[in-house]
Symmetry: C2
């Protein structure tokens, strides 16, 4: 609070030594933590988890490596904290946007598009999340698992509601569809990363949504428009009766 941004300068101690100075700045815990978190996010995003040096995160926050460890137990704990922030933001954002959209189909299209946008706009961090959020089945990363669950739970709820409303085929399994959606987006984005083509978010979102919603078979007749089929058949029968009468 006193002097937040007085950067490194020299403090002449009575001793005449040319000793490079040690000016420490002591800051409110919350502020320093936020700074470290921000640096960590940047470094993880740029270099990936493995190649991110804690020393660099420290330097960028204007502290020394040891300091970082007084705020976060391990490098991994730091990563988890970064992810937590990221997901919290993302969940809030997606949910508030979704609240304004009506109809199962529109809501699904919204979720797909929104996820694609996030993915491409914060690619570096997304890459880290995806890479690191699936470690060994070791449970120490339950934190990440839970965040992921909460986030993908958004689409899951939309699917379940759509199912209840009768907008979706009654034989689908919501969690499987959710996996298709998020997994499909992930793969599609990666493909674009390596091909040199431009990533048209809106187009890709539509293509993915079309496929998931409508299927890919030419006659997705299956159980789909059974109802439609029935009604037409009734009409046909009516006409047939008419024909019979006229003929007779």
């Amino acid at each position: 609070m006193a002097n937040p941004n007085k950067d490194s300068s020299t403090v002449g101690l009575s001793v005449g030594e040319p000793r490079q100075v040690k000016r420490r700045t002591r800051r409110p815990r919350a502020e320093r933590e936020a700074e470290i978190l921000a640096s960590a996010r940047a470094v993880f995003s740029e270099r990936g988890y493995g190649d991110a040096a804690v020393a660099e995160i420290a330097t960028r926050s204007g502290v020394v490596e040891g300091t970082v460890y007084s705020y976060f137990e391990t490098k991994r704990a730091l990563l988890i904290a970064v992810m937590k922030l990221f997901f919290e933001e993302l969940i809030m954002d997606t949910e508030s946007g979704l609240a304004a959209v009506r109809g199962t189909e529109n809501r699904l299209r919204f979720v797909i598009r929104r996820h694609l946008e996030t993915f491409t706009s914060d690619l570096g961090l997304c890459r880290v999340v995806i890479r690191e959020a699936r470690p060994d089945v070791a449970l120490y990363d339950e934190a990440i698992l839970d965040l992921n669950r909460r986030y993908t739970g958004i689409a899951l709820r939309v699917l379940e509601e759509g199912l209840a409303a009768g907008d979706l085929r009654s034989d689908i399994v919501p969690s499987v569809i959710r996996d298709l959606i998020y997994g499909g987006i992930e793969h599609a984005v990666w493909r674009f990363l390596f091909s040199d083509g431009e990533l048209e978010i809106a187009l890709l979102a539509d293509q993915l949504a079309d496929a998931v919603l409508g299927g890919i078979l030419t006659q997705s007749a299956h159980a789909t428009d059974t109802h439609q089929e029935d009604t037409v058949r009734r009409l046909e029968r009516a006409v047939e009766r008419l024909e019979a009468q006229v003929a007779g």
Copy 2:
């Protein structure tokens, strides 16, 4: 050739020292390379790439760390070699199985199921592949990229053929569908890894295939209206007949 498997034993040098012996075994390059590769595959599979120590791989192959580096430039090169073998096997296997299946729908179902089987039967290695096959856009891992492309190319070809044969809706984008399939499987498997439920491969394969093939909307109206078009036309024809009769 002379004495391949004479294991470590003592060789009394004229000197009376109790020095622990150094018995080296020199083996044909190909054999030793295969041994190292096998150990590497095991260790990567058990520990993941990051936690796999080259020293352990060496020990399991009965050599010292430096030896590994005389066969493979880097740890990463070793990983790539392991993956290469894995993919080569997988591609051969999948393609030969696929050759016996007819019809776009069946062929797609086969690919999905086959991939799911691989995934669950060699989970450790698959985890590593997925984690490591997407590093920075750095091209030094072009090798892996290419392997992946070749493998997922199998499904892509099935989709393209189906499109050409008119079995699939003409407005789908094969590469997007491929991403849905592989991405969806990946996510679905992961979910099972963390939930304690049993993974029913056949069931999951069907659920995924049903969703991709048939879509999820109750009235998959969209391009499905080709079918609707047909039915309406039937009605029109019926009415036309009637009109003709009445007129006549």
